[in-house]
Symmetry: C3
């Protein structure tokens, strides 16, 4: 079950080359992404209406796609515009198309009711294009249901264990209870760890100051679009960071993470980890991408192993612990949205 009336990040814009085609499965449906000559992104079902050959085995012909099985041609809206050997085309030969918008370097697709596909609902990832931030677009893939990935993000106590030697580096993270708030889009978590003896391991070699550190992670998880938007940072302790006063050597980061279901058992993961200091230091930008990526592989190993255990657990119930307030709220909001969509569809 997926929320359908939402924009899902589905590709980086740079994956769509001028005459190329990108096949990718989103919410269990095989899609074809391509870019017209005017730059516009189009998304069709990756399935010829005729004999269900994948259009991604076809050929770009201008702004159209020809199925290379029997030669039908479709335009960017999925309209069948040529059927070899006849004038006009047979009825019912169009293929489904999906609203798509390219924004903030990402391609967003809407797989629900097209009438509701309001671009204003696209999550804000302006940092990807802002001159005030530097980051590198990255993609991961998890062999797990997206809800297990969201659970992971909704409880940062795992940083102390899964990421002991990478993103975490402190037992304080797990021992600190975050503030959990419901927002109009989902869940907001705020976590401060004051006076930590040092930085997280992933910043090694790039520290901007010495001495104790005030660290924070403040993030929104939108339960439509599964957009995780996090501000995090490290400031010299006792310089006022919790009150919003940032000393010049403070290191501030912003991470956008887009968790898009491929199908019930697989998840796409588009992410950036931007810094707003030392913008000219491309080595730092690159190092952050590599180190955060290594951290996400730690998540992936754990979550994929967890998925295998879940698969053999039938209806067994998980136990709730105190740290679960974030993920419990997130799961509850998602279930409510799924129920609302189902009711609307008369399902």
């Amino acid at each position: 079950m997926f929320i359908r009336n939402a924009w899902y990040a589905s590709a980086w814009g740079h994956e769509l080359t001028d005459n190329g085609m990108l096949p990718r499965k989103i919410l269990g449906t095989s899609l074809l992404f391509f870019r017209k000559s005017d730059g516009e992104v189009k998304v069709l079902r990756d399935r010829c209406s005729h004999r269900f050959a994948p259009l991604s085995l076809g050929r770009r012909e201008g702004d159209c796609v020809r199925c290379m099985y029997h030669g039908l041609v479709f335009d960017g809206d999925g309209k069948c515009v040529e059927e070899p050997g006849r004038k006009g085309v047979s009825p019912n030969t169009d293929v489904p198309s999906y609203p798509a918008v390219e924004r903030h370097k990402l391609v967003w697709v809407w797989m629900g009711d097209a009438d509701k596909a309001d671009p204003d609902l696209i999550p804000d990832c302006h940092q990807h294009e802002s001159p005030e931030w530097a980051s590198i677009p990255r993609t991961a893939h998890f062999k797990a249901n997206y809800l297990l990935v969201l659970d992971n993000l909704l409880d940062f106590s795992h940083l102390s264990y899964v990421h002991e030697n990478s993103l975490g580096g402190s037992k304080t993270i797990a021992e600190t209870r975050p503030k959990v708030e419901q927002t109009n889009k989902g869940v907001k978590l705020t976590r401060w760890y004051l006076g930590e003896p040092g930085f997280a391991p992933y910043l090694k070699g790039y520290e901007r100051f010495t001495g104790p550190v005030d660290r924070w992670n403040i993030y929104d998880l939108s339960t439509r679009s599964n957009h995780f938007s996090m501000s995090s940072g490290s400031a010299p302790a006792n310089t006022g960071a919790p009150e919003g006063k940032l000393a010049p050597e403070t290191m501030v980061f912003h991470s956008n993470q887009l968790i898009t279901p491929e199908d019930e058992n697989n998840t796409h993961y588009f992410w950036t980890y931007a810094h707003n200091f030392a913008l000219e230091n491309s080595e730092l930008t690159q190092a952050l991408a590599e180190r955060i990526s290594a951290g996400f592989q730690e998540d992936r190993d754990m979550i994929e192993a967890q998925q295998l255990v879940v698969n053999e657990s039938g209806d067994d119930k998980m136990a709730f612990i105190l740290a679960d307030n974030g993920l419990t709220l997130g799961r509850r909001l998602i279930e409510a949205e799924l129920a609302a969509e189902a009711a609307e569809q008369g399902r």
Copy 2:
């Protein structure tokens, strides 16, 4: 669902060596093929009656097969003729055998009602042994249901696209509507493309004349046995080929293709592509086998990709186009035969 009362090509005769055994699954059932000392081909279920060990892990002993698990011996008719440690054999120890005939270099098996296994129903592939034709026996395997393979053969418009640079080489093929006729065995398609600027790409280097070409494909597809029997050729344009007058430099081919279901998801493909000119030119014979084989790999790539899309398409309906009259007729005939067999079995 498979038509059972039909002869299915299941092996090339040369695959059955003197003391060997060939295991192969046909219509979802694992079979064992072997050749007796008098040359006769025998086909048994590849399953010992006792504990279901595969007989193909057994040992030929003369014209019999010994199961190498507990030692039971079966003759070529599946009769259990030895049970170690007793005189005679226990009841119900025979294994099923299937009528089999070797003809035209192929081994044909009948998996329906044995009383109906009339060898006169075996498809005509005499070209395999005729001194007037030269060809090389070949086998392919598709990870797809056999009906998708038949569909492919029943609409040659795909030659223009799947085989653009191999077997096709002309948009005319897709733009030409073939004559489609129902025969007493299945479907007959006739397609002429007159005055084409050149030969199909797969004939490159072996052309026997220059100038424009009249090309044709005329074939029967038998919906019992799934035998595709095609005459095709290239004649100098305007020399009377469509009226049956073949100029001496005309290049005539005959292809037999036998589409045998392995199971619901896999298909065996036995084929030849014979020429009746330049018979002494074994390089040509070999080149045709290699080039047609490359063309069939193009089909395989498309059909296997199509099968994956079909698998995720549930009950979604394919669209019909004008070119579908051949495959629609073929599918209809097969469904009628399946229904007739089911009715007869009281299924």
Copy 3:
């Protein structure tokens, strides 16, 4: 379906290193084995109570295991003893533990009603630690249901065929009808082959005498625990071995084999093949382990192939032959125990 109220061999003691953890699936359930600092073996479900992460991805901390997802700590009895960020622990956070005993170099686990886990029921494998016997612990794995493995052991006629050139070496084995007796634990089979021309092939190079041989296999198969306990040997013919009079050059062996279901489709196989002569000859001990292992690979090849055929055979019935009295009795006893356990559980 598995008999649950039984001790199952699940690991060799040497697999449990001081600070290590061993994940292994038994009867379809993923378990975690580890050894406390006092040497005691503990077995937990390999699944954190919280979010079902595998504990085997966790970390030993003294005699406890920390889940490395969110940091919960469990003691050797599965009790949750630490939940990061709170005093005490949340309710229902313990994980299941299973009675376990290390005896005769093997780790035995009980997955049924813990109240019935009487260590006196552990099968006798004292030869593994006796100064009178020499053997090497070995493990195999079969991709097959355990019942097919038991069938194999309950009919030694397969030695003549599966093991023609290894453990068997004589048609007499298949032609000799064993004595089959029901015992209080299962089935006992006794098989003598008198005056055989030579030894079994696996003893080549280690024969202790020349001339004809009286061979025997006498074994109990316990249908709880699936313990196969076999005495076998080769004595000079006509020296009284069948009456229990063993000439000094007689070669006597004892094999323990423990057949433990991993799940419905896979089986663990723990075994030894001990000799009680030439104890100082470690080359012999090693050779026996290697040669018997090669023989068991022959079984594995046959049984895994048989399983594939069984999988495609639906409800088809196997035929009974005279040699089946042992396996028929064994199967009947197992079915009765399964039915008794089901009745007790009100299933």
